[in-house]
C-alpha cells in the first residue's frame, strides 16, 4: 500500500488554557482507511485534540505527522491544505444557499470571473453520486434538508477539498435512528475509498458497531488504543474512568427533610423526552449525564424559560405550572443559568445593581429605590458569598470568573428563594473559587435550602451531592444514592450500559 503505517500521527501533544492543562502528552494515530473512535468523558480533551489537528487551536508542543511526514499546522487553512476536514455538530453550511453552492463554497467560480452554474451543479452532483446520494437535488436549499443529508453535504464539501482525514464530532447527536443508518452507510463507503475517519462520540452502541479501533483519553492524557473487536463495554468504560478524586470538597453533615420539589415526566422539544426527579429540603441533588443529554433543557422547561410540553411540577405538594422565571422566583425558586457571561450576570452594570436585580420589590417598594434598603442587602450578600472587589460600584466585568459567578449566586440568594437550581455553577472558574462555591452550597443546605445542581464533572457530582439522577438522551435513566455515587455507576448510566 504505502511506506507509512499511519495516515495521522500525533505524538506528545500538550496544550493548556490559561495555566490549566487540557492535554498532556497525548497520543493519537489513525491508519489509512479506518474508522477510529476517539472517546473520553466530558472534558477529557477530545475536542482539544481535534482542534490541535485541524489547526483551530494549535498545540503548544508535540509532533504531528501526516502520511509519515512531519507537518506544521498552525491555523485552520493549514489543516484543510493538509487534507484534514472536521465536521462539527453545528454544521458550517450556509443555510439559505443550495446544496451545489455549499459543496463548492470554497471556490464556486472555479477561478473564473463569473460563475458557471451548470458546471458547478454538475460537479456537486458527481460528488453526491460518488457517495451514493445522487438522489439529493443539488438545487435544494440546505435548510430544507434533513440533518443527515446536511451532514452528507458537509462531507461532500470536505471531499471536494480532497480531505484524506475526516473528523466527525458527535455526528449523530441530533439525528433520528433512520438518519444514523444513512450516515453509517456513507461512512463505510468512505472508508472503503481509503478515507481515514475519526469518529468522536459518547454513544457506545455506535462505537461498537462502526469503529475499527478506539483511542481513549482521560483528563487530557492518553490512556490507550484498542481494537474494537477485542474489548467489551465494561472494559471500555473502565478505561475512561478512575481519575484521582480531588479532595477539595468541603465536608458536610447531611440533614435531609421532606420532598419540596418534584418534576415528573418532563417533556420539552427534541432534547427532553422523559425526565423525573425530586429534591428534598437540605439536600443537594445532582443532575448528571453527558453534555447534551438534556439536563439544562429540562430545567429550563420546568422553570418556564422554554415551553413545557408535558409532565407535572409539584412544589410542596401542590401542582404548579411556571410560565417564566419571574413566576419561578415568585414561588421561591431561583435559577443560576449555565452561561454566566451571557445569562448569569450583567457584565457592564455595577456589582450592587446585579445583586439586587431580582429583588427590586425589597429595595423599591413603590418603584423608588431606597439606598437605605439596598445597601444592607448588598453588604450582606457580598460578605456571605465573599465577593472580592475594591468597590461594589465597579462593573461586574472587572471581576474574575469565580467572583462573577458569586455575584450571580448572590443575586439569587437576595430573593430568598429556598429552592435553587444551579446549572454548571463552577464552569470556567478556578479551583480556589470552586471550593468557595461548594462552601456556599453547603451553607445553603445547612439553612434548609434545596439545591439542584447540574454538573458535567462527575467528581463534582460525587463530591457534592447527596443523591444524583443520571440523564441520558433526554431521559432520566437512573437514580444513585450517596453511597452508590461513583464514576463507574454514573458513567454506566450516562452511556447506556445500565438502566433502571
Amino acid at each position: 500500500m504505502s511506506d507509512y503505517e499511519y495516515e495521522v500521527e500525533m505524538h506528545h501533544i500538550c496544550k493548556s488554557f490559561s495555566g490549566v492543562k487540557a492535554l498532556q502528552d497525548a497520543e493519537f494515530c489513525v491508519r489509512h482507511g479506518e474508522i477510529h473512535a476517539l472517546m473520553g468523558e466530558n472534558g477529557a480533551g477530545k475536542s482539544t485534540l481535534i482542534r490541535c489537528l485541524s489547526g483551530v487551536g494549535p498545540a503548544d508542543s508535540g509532533e504531528i505527522k501526516l502520511k509519515g511526514k512531519p507537518v506544521h499546522i498552525a491555523n485552520p487553512k493549514d489543516g484543510i491544505l493538509n487534507g484534514i476536514s472536521v465536521i462539527y455538530q453545528e454544521f458550517a453550511l450556509v443555510q439559505h444557499l443550495t446544496v451545489a453552492e455549499n459543496i463548492l463554497l470554497d471556490d464556486f467560480r472555479d477561478g473564473k470571473p463569473i460563475i458557471n452554474w451548470s458546471q458547478m451543479r454538475a460537479k456537486a452532483k458527481q460528488c453526491l453520486e460518488d457517495l451514493g446520494f445522487g438522489h439529493i437535488n443539488v438545487n435544494t436549499v440546505v435548510r430544507d434538508l434533513s440533518v443527515a443529508y446536511q451532514q452528507v453535504v458537509e462531507i461532500c464539501k470536505a471531499l471536494i477539498r480532497n480531505a484524506s482525514v475526516l473528523v466527525l464530532d458527535e455526528p449523530t447527536a441530533v439525528m433520528t435512528t433512520k438518519e444514523v443508518e444513512q450516515l453509517f452507510v456513507l461512512i463505510n463507503r468512505l472508508r472503503d475509498k481509503g478515507v481515514s475517519i475519526v469518529y468522536v462520540s459518547h454513544r457506545l452502541d455506535e462505537i461498537f458497531r462502526i469503529s475499527d479501533r478506539i483511542t481513549v483519553l482521560k483528563d487530557g492524557q492518553y490512556v490507550g488504543t484498542v481494537n474494537t473487536k477485542e474489548i467489551d463495554r465494561n472494559q471500555l468504560v473502565a478505561m475512561m474512568i478512575g481519575r484521582d478524586m480531588a479532595t477539595f470538597f468541603p465536608p458536610r453533615t447531611p440533614d435531609i427533610g421532606e420532598v419540596v420539589f418534584k418534576a415528573e415526566h418532563i417533556k420539552s422539544g427534541m432534547a427532553v423526552k422523559d425526565i423525573s426527579f425530586e429534591v428534598r429540603e437540605g439536600e443537594v441533588l445532582g443532575l448528571s449525564g453527558l453534555v447534551g443529554a438534556g439536563r439544562t433543557e429540562a430545567v429550563r422547561a420546568i422553570l418556564g424559560v422554554d415551553k413545557l410540553e408535558g409532565g407535572t411540577v409539584t412544589l410542596r405538594g401542590e401542582q404548579i405550572h411556571l410560565r417564566s422565571t419571574k413566576d419561578a422566583y415568585a414561588h421561591g425558586i431561583g435559577f443560576l443559568p449555565e452561561d454566566r457571561k451571557n445569562q448569569g450576570v450583567l457584565l457592564r452594570r455595577p456589582i450592587y445593581q446585579n445583586i439586587t436585580l431580582s429583588c427590586q420589590k425589597k429595595i423599591a417598594p413603590f418603584g423608588w429605590i431606597f439606598k437605605s434598603k439596598e445597601t444592607p442587602i448588598v453588604d450582606k450578600y457580598v460578605k456571605e458569598v465573599t465577593i472580592k472587589t475594591a468597590s461594589v460600584n465597579n462593573d461586574v466585568d472587572s471581576l474574575s470568573g469565580g467572583n462573577q459567578q458569586k455575584v450571580a449566586i448572590a443575586k439569587i440568594l437576595a430573593t430568598d428563594s429556598k429552592i435553587v437550581f444551579l446549572d454548571e455553577p463552577t464552569r470556567g472558574v478556578d479551583v480556589g473559587a470552586k471550593v468557595e462555591i461548594f462552601k456556599i452550597i453547603n451553607e445553603l443546605v445547612a439553612k434548609r435550602y434545596a439545591v439542584v445542581m447540574i454538573s458535567s464533572e462527575m467528581a463534582e457530582i460525587i463530591g457534592m451531592c447527596d443523591r444524583a439522577v443520571v440523564i441520558r438522551e433526554g431521559r432520566s435513566v437512573g437514580e444513585l444514592q450517596r453511597d452508590e455515587l461513583s464514576e463507574m455507576n454514573i458513567i454506566q448510566y450516562a452511556m447506556g450500559v445500565k438502566e433502571q
Binding site: 417564566s324 450583567l346 452594570r349 436585580l357 418603584g367 465597579n394 462593573d395 472587572s398
Partner: protein, 346 residues
C-alpha cells in the same frame, strides 16, 4: 483595576456611587465628560466669533427653540439605552401638534380652561397611542425597533397630511385658548421662558427616574443584556413596552409645545430633524447605540452642542442647506469618536 474603562459606562450609575472609592484619572474624566469640554469650547469659540452669541436674548431664544428637542431627546435616550431607536419621533410630535390645533379650531376647544386642557391632553394621547403601538410591536412581537419606527414615521407623516390636507392650521389669536397655549411659550418668569423651565423639570424628572427607580435600573439592565434580565425573573417585556409608551407620550408633549410656540400647526413638523438631532445629542452625551449606556444630563449637553453649532452658523449667516451638511458631519464625528473610544475598552 482599569478605572478608565469603568467611567465611560453609564455615568449616572457611577455618579450615584455613595460608597466605595473609585479613582478618577484625568484621562478617565476626559473620556467620560468629553461632551462637557466640547460644549464649553464651542461656547467660547461662539462668543469669539459673534458678539451676539453670548447675550441673554440669544441664549434664551436658543434654549426656547430647543425645548421640543430636549423633550424628544429624553424619549430618544431611554429608547436608545434599551438598545432600540425611534425614527418616528418627528412624525408623532407632528400628529400631536396638529391634533391639538385641530381640536381647538374645529371642536371648540379654544375657549381656554378645561377645553384647552382637553385639546392638549388629546395631543398627548396621540403620542401615547403611537408609543403603545411601537411598544406592542417591539416588546411583545419582538419586531426590530428600526423597522417599526420607520413605519410609524411614514404613517405619522401621512396622518399629518390627511388631517391638515397640506394646509397650516392657524389658531385664532383672539381666543382665550390661544393666549393660554401660546403664553406657555412666550411668557417668561424673570428672564427665563416658562417653556424652558418646563423642559428643565422634564429633564429633572428623568434624571431621578433613571437614577433612583426600578424602572431606570431595568432600562439600563435590559440594554446591557435582555436575556439575562429575563432569566433573573423580570418581565423585561413590560419595561420595554413602558419605555416606548413613555417615549410616545414625550413626543406628544413635544408636539403640543411645538403648536404653542407659533400658534399654528402644519404637517411640516413631521419632516423636522428631531430624530436626527436628538440621536446625535444622546450619542454625543455618551450613549451607545448598542444599548446599556447613556446619561440624562450629558444627553442634554449633547443636544445643546448641536444647538450651539446651529446657532453659530445662523449668526454668521451660513445658509440652512450647508448647515445640514455640517450637522451631519458632526453626527458622523460623534459616532466615530464613540466607536474609537469604546474599541479601546474592549
Amino acid at each position: 483595576m482599569k478605572v478608565k474603562e469603568k467611567n465611560t459606562a453609564a455615568p449616572e450609575s457611577t455618579l450615584a456611587a455613595s460608597r466605595g472609592t473609585q479613582k478618577l484619572t484625568v484621562s478617565g474624566f476626559l473620556m467620560k465628560y468629553n461632551c462637557i469640554i466640547i460644549f464649553i469650547a464651542l461656547f467660547i469659540v461662539a462668543s469669539c466669533i459673534s458678539p451676539m452669541f453670548c447675550t441673554p436674548t440669544n441664549i434664551f431664544t436658543t434654549l426656547r427653540q430647543q425645548v421640543p428637542y430636549i423633550i424628544i431627546g429624553m424619549s430618544m435616550l431611554i429608547i436608545i439605552i434599551t438598545g432600540g431607536i425611534d425614527l418616528g419621533a418627528a412624525s408623532v410630535a407632528g400628529v400631536s401638534s396638529i391634533v391639538t390645533a385641530y381640536a381647538m379650531i374645529n371642536w371648540g376647544m379654544s375657549g381656554g380652561g378645561i377645553g384647552t386642557v382637553g385639546a392638549v391632553l388629546l395631543g398627548v394621547l396621540m403620542g401615547a397611542i403611537f408609543g403603545a403601538v411601537n411598544g406592542f410591536l417591539i416588546a411583545r412581537l419582538r419586531m426590530p425597533a428600526f423597522i417599526v419606527t420607520l413605519a410609524t414615521m411614514t404613517a405619522g407623516e401621512g396622518i399629518c397630511y390627511i388631517i391638515t390636507k397640506g394646509n397650516t392650521l392657524m389658531l385664532d389669536s383672539k381666543t382665550e385658548g390661544y393666549k393660554e397655549l401660546v403664553g406657555f411659550s412666550v411668557n417668561s418668569i424673570g428672564p427665563v421662558p416658562v417653556a424652558v423651565i418646563f423642559a428643565a423639570v422634564v429633564v429633572a424628572i428623568f434624571f431621578f427616574l433613571m437614577k433612583y427607580t426600578t424602572f431606570g435600573r431595568m432600562v439600563y439592565a435590559i440594554g446591557s443584556n435582555e436575556s439575562a434580565v429575563q432569566l433573573a425573573g423580570i418581565n423585561s417585556k413590560k419595561y420595554l413596552f413602558l419605555v416606548y409608551l413613555i417615549g410616545g407620550i414625550l413626543c406628544g408633549i413635544a408636539g403640543v409645545v411645538i403648536t404653542s410656540r407659533s400658534g399654528n400647526a402644519s404637517a411640516l413638523t413631521a419632516g423636522v430633524d428631531y430624530p436626527m438631532t436628538t440621536i446625535a445629542g444622546v450619542v454625543i452625551g455618551g450613549a451607545s447605540l448598542a444599548g446599556g449606556e447613556g446619561s440624562v444630563l450629558l444627553s442634554v449637553v449633547g443636544i445643546l452642542i448641536m444647538a450651539v453649532i446651529g446657532n453659530i452658523m445662523n449668526l454668521v449667516n451660513v445658509a440652512s442647506y450647508p448647515q445640514m451638511v455640517v450637522k451631519a458631519a458632526v453626527i458622523i464625528l460623534a459616532v466615530l469618536l464613540k466607536s474609537v473610544t469604546s474599541k479601546k475598552h474592549h
